[in-house]
């Protein structure tokens, strides 16, 4: 893969001596293969240059079937804004180059993203700062003016009245087509969601779609240097992201705190302060119930991909065995059916 990558970069950088080193697959990245690498080349000016990059490559099958062009557009739109993202470099749809379409971005150096590390020292000392930054940035995503950016080309805005329905229709369809067993608990929740729709969205915002601890790059100073994994980004109700961040699947410290770093009330207060929006409790509850349906849609998609032999990624059966039943239990807890 190093040689193929070097040839690709040579064409993009107009250099004929590109050397790719330290190519390593990064753990995680269940939806797209994520690789890091370094490169050295001589620029047309004759100057020797180096770069540190991340490559996101489509696998044969994954937890999600998403459009890489959409993800690339959302990343590109936020570059240079108060929402920190890595700089996008190249998007390549030709699967013959590396065995799948891919895109390449700059690597943000010196950061952590691991969920196991953020809940342990030295990061526990800066949980208040990390939490405030996490929800400050989410507020900035919610209020970002996406009109006139690359997002407008790839994402269709719903109306404030239909934002909930579009998402629920989408994820119910996924659950119906991908689940290999009946889902009586999820289907009961879906009936409740349809019978009790939330109020219209306060505004149509960018929704990251997977905003949680684990999808940002942080350091010991309590700052966040990059929001990553935009593969489920879309336009919709900003409460969707806030509710998603509370899902029990991301309670990494298993102590009831979202992400293992913040209590819920503080998270809501930060988000309301920085976004200027209100987290209506009933609307937020609707989106929290919905978040379980969406999670389950993701888990069952990965389970089917593995079962049908489209991939041998072991993370997919692990997620299925670990989370499909657990997600039912998390939903039951949110709905007050179990303590």
């Amino acid at each position: 893969m190093e040689d193929a990558l070097a040839r690709y970069l040579a064409s993009r950088l107009e250099a004929n001596d590109v050397r790719v080193t330290n190519l390593l697959r990064i753990p995680g990245g269940a939806s797209r293969e994520t690789w890091m690498f370094d490169a050295e080349w001589t620029a047309p000016s004759g100057e020797r240059q180096t770069g540190a990059f991340v490559l996101r490559k489509d696998p044969p099958a994954s937890l999600l079937e998403t459009d890489r062009e959409t993800e690339y557009a959302f990343y590109s739109a936020f570059w240079g804004s108060e929402v920190p993202v890595p700089r996008m470099r190249w998007l390549e749809n030709d699967a013959s180059i590396l065995g799948g379409p891919f895109f390449i971005m700059d690597r943000i150096l010196g950061c952590e993203s691991a969920t196991a590390k953020i809940i342990a020292p030295p990061y526990t000392a800066v949980h208040p700062q990390l939490a405030e930054n996490m929800y400050r940035i989410l507020g900035a995503i919610a209020t970002f003016d996406w009109r006139g950016t690359p997002i407008e080309r790839v994402a269709e805005p719903p109306t404030p009245e239909t934002a909930w329905q579009r998402e629920l229709d989408h994820w119910e369809r996924i659950l119906d087509t991908e689940a290999m067993e009946p889902q009586p608990i999820m289907k009961a929740a879906i009936r409740w969601l349809r019978a009790n729709p939330p109020p219209p969205a306060q505004r149509i915002s960018v929704v990251h779609g997977d905003y949680r601890v684990g999808n940002f790059l942080y350091r010991e100073d309590g700052n966040i240097y990059g929001i990553v994994d935009w593969e489920m980004a879309h336009l919709g109700d900003p409460l969707e992201d806030l509710a998603w961040s509370f899902n029990q699947s991301w309670h990494w410290a298993k102590d009831g705190r979202p992400g293992g770093i913040v209590d819920r009330a503080a998270a809501i207060a930060h988000w309301e302060r920085y976004s200027g929006l209100r987290a209506d409790p009933q609307a937020l509850y609707w989106w929290e119930v919905f978040s379980h349906v969406k999670c389950q849609g993701i888990w069952v998609t990965g389970a089917r991909s593995f079962q049908e032999g489209r991939t041998n990624e072991l993370i997919l059966p692990l997620v299925a065995y670990s989370l499909i039943n657990a997600q039912d239990q998390y939903l039951l807890r949110t709905m007050g059916r179990i303590p």
Binding site: L24, R25, I26, P27, G28, E181, P182, Q183, P184, I185, K187, A188, R191, L314, I315, P317, L318, Y321, S322, L323, N325, A326, D328, Q329, L332, R337, I338
Partner: protein
Amino acid sequence: MNPSAPRVLQGLAANLLSEVMPNISTPFGQQLVGIAAMLEMMLAEEFDRAADRLVTENRVVRELLAEGRALLGEGCPTSVAAAIAAPAAPTLRVPDLQRENDLLRAALIDLHAAVEQAPGEAARAFEERIWAELIESTRRRQFASRL
């Protein structure tokens, strides 16, 4: 007697973690070994209990469907009667039991939706019985070892 499948899987997991993992140099490789070990622990549990869980659940759901049909009468979804009438799994092999389970639980979804729309205290009480079974179904599937 041979060592049981759960015991063999547990042994495999222990060897992966203690003997293989320390010799893997890349974070991705280490993650893979960890996932393989965790999966073996979960499969050990599932191997031990799967048939028992499915036999128990199929009986409980069949009883619920029969009671639901009696409660709703003509208002009962046709899938409920069809599931009740369907033959039980022909063997105790897990795939056969699972097919029966899928049929019964799909009918339970239809029954649950119909009971929600039915008026009266008896319907409310039966709705709670369905919820109690759904909660119990998650306990049957819970793993001692999971992420």
